[in-house]
Amino acid sequence: DVKVTQSSRYLVKRTGEKVFLECVQDMDHENMFWYRQDPGLGLRLIYFSYDVKMKEKGDIPEGYSVSREKKERFSLILESASTNQTSMYLCASSLRAGGPEAFFGQGTRLTVV
Protein backbone atom coordinates (compact mmCIF):
# COMPACT_ATOMS: atom_id res chain seq x y z
CA ASP A 1 0.00 0.00 0.00
CA VAL A 2 1.36 3.36 -1.02
CA LYS A 3 1.75 5.69 1.85
CA VAL A 4 2.19 9.42 1.58
CA THR A 5 2.65 11.02 4.96
CA GLN A 6 2.43 14.70 5.73
CA SER A 7 4.12 15.71 8.95
CA SER A 8 1.31 17.84 10.37
CA ARG A 9 -2.48 17.67 10.11
CA TYR A 10 -3.01 21.18 11.48
CA LEU A 11 -0.71 24.18 11.69
CA VAL A 12 -1.27 27.73 12.90
CA LYS A 13 1.39 30.27 11.98
CA ARG A 14 1.76 34.02 12.22
CA THR A 15 2.03 36.36 9.26
CA GLY A 16 5.64 36.72 8.17
CA GLU A 17 6.80 33.41 9.62
CA LYS A 18 8.77 30.93 7.53
CA VAL A 19 6.76 27.74 7.29
CA PHE A 20 7.90 24.25 6.33
CA LEU A 21 5.47 21.55 5.24
CA GLU A 22 7.01 18.12 5.01
CA CYS A 23 5.95 15.12 2.94
CA VAL A 24 7.39 11.62 2.84
CA GLN A 25 6.43 8.73 0.55
CA ASP A 26 7.51 5.14 0.98
CA MET A 27 7.03 3.68 -2.49
CA ASP A 28 10.12 4.91 -4.29
CA HIS A 29 8.08 7.21 -6.53
CA GLU A 30 10.03 9.57 -8.76
CA ASN A 31 7.37 12.27 -8.98
CA MET A 32 6.12 14.34 -6.07
CA PHE A 33 3.65 17.20 -6.04
CA TRP A 34 2.31 19.94 -3.79
CA TYR A 35 -1.25 21.16 -4.24
CA ARG A 36 -3.40 23.56 -2.33
CA GLN A 37 -7.12 22.91 -2.00
CA ASP A 38 -9.61 25.74 -1.59
CA PRO A 39 -13.43 25.54 -1.70
CA GLY A 40 -14.76 26.13 -5.18
CA LEU A 41 -11.28 26.09 -6.71
CA GLY A 42 -10.42 22.41 -6.50
CA LEU A 43 -6.78 21.39 -6.25
CA ARG A 44 -4.22 23.72 -7.74
CA LEU A 45 -0.66 22.64 -8.41
CA ILE A 46 2.00 24.68 -6.64
CA TYR A 47 5.21 22.84 -7.50
CA PHE A 48 6.28 19.38 -8.56
CA SER A 49 9.49 17.42 -8.70
CA TYR A 50 10.39 14.54 -11.00
CA ASP A 51 13.75 13.72 -9.43
CA VAL A 52 16.00 14.58 -6.51
CA LYS A 53 16.99 18.25 -6.58
CA MET A 54 14.74 18.85 -9.59
CA LYS A 55 11.69 21.07 -9.37
CA GLU A 56 9.16 22.61 -11.70
CA LYS A 57 6.67 25.38 -11.12
CA GLY A 58 3.02 24.51 -11.20
CA ASP A 59 0.11 26.85 -11.75
CA ILE A 60 0.43 28.95 -8.57
CA PRO A 61 4.08 28.99 -7.40
CA GLU A 62 4.17 32.59 -6.18
CA GLY A 63 5.04 32.85 -2.49
CA TYR A 64 6.23 29.24 -2.29
CA SER A 65 9.42 27.30 -2.79
CA VAL A 66 10.25 23.60 -2.52
CA SER A 67 13.12 21.35 -1.64
CA ARG A 68 13.82 17.75 -2.59
CA GLU A 69 17.12 16.55 -1.17
CA LYS A 70 16.07 12.90 -0.96
CA LYS A 71 13.84 10.87 -3.24
CA GLU A 72 11.29 10.10 -0.56
CA ARG A 73 10.96 13.60 0.88
CA PHE A 74 9.47 16.77 -0.65
CA SER A 75 9.18 19.95 1.36
CA LEU A 76 7.03 22.99 0.69
CA ILE A 77 8.33 26.28 2.06
CA LEU A 78 6.40 29.47 2.64
CA GLU A 79 9.17 32.04 2.91
CA SER A 80 6.98 34.66 4.59
CA ALA A 81 3.52 33.37 5.35
CA SER A 82 0.56 35.56 4.51
CA THR A 83 -3.13 35.23 5.39
CA ASN A 84 -4.02 34.41 1.78
CA GLN A 85 -1.95 31.25 2.13
CA THR A 86 -4.42 29.87 4.67
CA SER A 87 -5.50 26.66 2.97
CA MET A 88 -5.41 22.88 2.87
CA TYR A 89 -2.12 21.64 1.45
CA LEU A 90 -1.93 18.22 -0.17
CA CYS A 91 1.18 16.29 -1.11
CA ALA A 92 1.07 13.56 -3.77
CA SER A 93 3.44 11.14 -5.44
CA SER A 94 3.42 9.03 -8.58
CA LEU A 95 5.58 6.70 -10.61
CA ARG A 96 7.30 8.22 -13.60
CA ALA A 97 7.04 5.08 -15.70
CA GLY A 98 3.73 3.98 -14.29
CA GLY A 99 0.26 5.21 -14.94
CA PRO A 100 -0.78 8.78 -14.26
CA GLU A 101 -2.39 7.94 -10.94
CA ALA A 102 -1.27 10.13 -8.05
CA PHE A 103 -1.38 9.03 -4.42
CA PHE A 104 -2.24 11.70 -1.90
CA GLY A 105 -1.42 12.36 1.72
CA GLN A 106 -4.10 13.35 4.20
CA GLY A 107 -3.38 17.03 3.94
CA THR A 108 -2.16 19.81 6.21
CA ARG A 109 -4.64 22.47 7.21
CA LEU A 110 -2.57 25.66 7.52
CA THR A 111 -4.00 28.76 9.13
CA VAL A 112 -2.01 31.98 8.94
CA VAL A 113 -3.09 34.58 11.47
Binding site: E30, F33, Y35, R44, D59, P100, G105, Q106, G107
Partner: protein
Protein backbone atom coordinates in the same frame (compact mmCIF):
# COMPACT_ATOMS: atom_id res chain seq x y z
CA UNK B 1 -8.34 30.44 -16.14
CA UNK B 2 -9.73 27.05 -15.26
CA UNK B 3 -8.54 24.37 -17.66
CA UNK B 4 -11.02 21.77 -16.39
CA UNK B 5 -14.53 22.98 -15.64
CA UNK B 6 -16.69 20.87 -13.35
CA UNK B 7 -20.39 21.06 -12.51
CA UNK B 8 -22.44 21.07 -10.40
CA UNK B 9 -20.69 22.42 -7.33
CA UNK B 10 -23.02 20.44 -5.08
CA UNK B 11 -25.47 17.62 -5.66
CA UNK B 12 -28.10 16.01 -3.44
CA UNK B 13 -29.48 12.65 -4.48
CA UNK B 14 -31.83 10.19 -2.86
CA UNK B 15 -30.55 6.72 -2.02
CA UNK B 16 -30.88 4.52 -5.08
CA UNK B 17 -30.83 7.43 -7.49
CA UNK B 18 -28.30 8.30 -10.20
CA UNK B 19 -25.64 10.93 -9.52
CA UNK B 20 -24.20 12.70 -12.56
CA UNK B 21 -21.20 15.03 -12.50
CA UNK B 22 -19.95 16.74 -15.64
CA UNK B 23 -16.56 18.06 -16.71
CA UNK B 24 -15.21 19.85 -19.77
CA UNK B 25 -11.67 20.60 -20.87
CA UNK B 26 -9.95 22.69 -23.53
CA UNK B 27 -6.40 21.44 -23.85
CA UNK B 28 -6.11 18.58 -26.36
CA UNK B 29 -2.77 17.60 -24.84
CA UNK B 30 -4.66 15.91 -22.01
CA UNK B 31 -4.59 12.16 -22.56
CA UNK B 32 -5.91 10.60 -19.37
CA UNK B 33 -9.00 11.54 -17.42
CA UNK B 34 -9.30 10.27 -13.83
CA UNK B 35 -11.92 10.87 -11.20
CA UNK B 36 -10.89 11.23 -7.57
CA UNK B 37 -13.06 10.74 -4.50
CA UNK B 38 -12.34 12.58 -1.27
CA UNK B 39 -13.89 11.87 2.12
CA UNK B 40 -13.66 14.47 4.93
CA UNK B 41 -10.25 14.48 6.56
CA UNK B 42 -8.69 12.37 3.83
CA UNK B 43 -6.70 13.05 0.72
CA UNK B 44 -8.28 12.37 -2.69
CA UNK B 45 -8.11 8.78 -3.93
CA UNK B 46 -8.40 7.52 -7.49
CA UNK B 47 -11.89 6.20 -8.20
CA UNK B 48 -11.95 5.44 -11.92
CA UNK B 49 -10.16 6.71 -15.03
CA UNK B 50 -10.50 6.69 -18.81
CA UNK B 51 -8.31 7.29 -21.84
CA UNK B 52 -9.71 9.31 -24.77
CA UNK B 53 -9.73 6.37 -27.18
CA UNK B 54 -12.60 4.85 -25.17
CA UNK B 55 -16.10 6.33 -24.98
CA UNK B 56 -17.20 4.60 -21.78
CA UNK B 57 -15.70 2.78 -18.83
CA UNK B 58 -17.64 1.04 -16.12
CA UNK B 59 -16.45 -0.23 -12.75
CA UNK B 60 -19.23 -1.50 -10.56
CA UNK B 61 -21.71 1.31 -9.97
CA UNK B 62 -19.35 3.95 -11.41
CA UNK B 63 -19.26 4.81 -15.11
CA UNK B 64 -17.28 7.41 -17.02
CA UNK B 65 -18.71 8.62 -20.30
CA UNK B 66 -16.27 10.40 -22.60
CA UNK B 67 -17.03 12.58 -25.63
CA UNK B 68 -13.75 13.42 -27.34
CA UNK B 69 -15.21 15.71 -30.01
CA UNK B 70 -17.04 17.79 -27.41
CA UNK B 71 -14.12 17.61 -24.96
CA UNK B 72 -16.46 16.56 -22.21
CA UNK B 73 -16.61 13.67 -19.77
CA UNK B 74 -18.92 12.73 -16.97
CA UNK B 75 -19.18 10.44 -13.96
CA UNK B 76 -22.36 8.49 -13.36
CA UNK B 77 -22.96 6.81 -10.02
CA UNK B 78 -25.77 4.29 -10.29
CA UNK B 79 -27.81 3.20 -7.28
CA UNK B 80 -26.20 5.95 -5.18
CA UNK B 81 -25.63 5.08 -1.53
CA UNK B 82 -25.12 7.24 1.57
CA UNK B 83 -21.56 5.90 1.70
CA UNK B 84 -20.93 7.60 -1.65
CA UNK B 85 -21.34 10.99 0.03
CA UNK B 86 -18.01 12.68 -0.62
CA UNK B 87 -16.38 15.32 -2.77
CA UNK B 88 -15.63 14.22 -6.33
CA UNK B 89 -12.97 15.78 -8.52
CA UNK B 90 -12.53 15.22 -12.20
CA UNK B 91 -9.02 15.66 -13.50
CA UNK B 92 -7.09 15.67 -16.73
CA UNK B 93 -3.52 14.51 -17.12
CA UNK B 94 -0.83 15.40 -19.61
CA UNK B 95 2.87 14.75 -19.84
CA UNK B 96 4.99 17.74 -18.84
CA UNK B 97 8.66 17.11 -19.43
CA UNK B 98 9.64 14.18 -17.22
CA UNK B 99 6.45 14.11 -15.16
CA UNK B 100 2.73 13.74 -15.64
CA UNK B 101 0.74 16.72 -14.45
CA UNK B 102 -2.82 16.50 -13.18
CA UNK B 103 -5.20 19.44 -13.56
CA UNK B 104 -8.27 19.22 -11.36
CA UNK B 105 -11.80 20.49 -11.64
CA UNK B 106 -13.30 22.54 -8.85
CA UNK B 107 -15.02 19.59 -7.16
CA UNK B 108 -18.58 18.43 -6.53
CA UNK B 109 -19.90 17.84 -3.04
CA UNK B 110 -22.24 14.85 -3.31
CA UNK B 111 -24.76 14.11 -0.57
CA UNK B 112 -26.80 10.93 -0.81
CA UNK B 113 -29.83 11.00 1.45
CA UNK B 114 -30.84 7.77 3.20
Amino acid sequence: QQQVKQSPQSLIVQKGGISIINCAYENTAFDYFPWYQQFPGKGPALLIAIRPDVSEKKEGRFTISFNKSAKQFSLHIMDSQPGDSATYFCAASKRTGSARQLTFGSGTQLTVLP
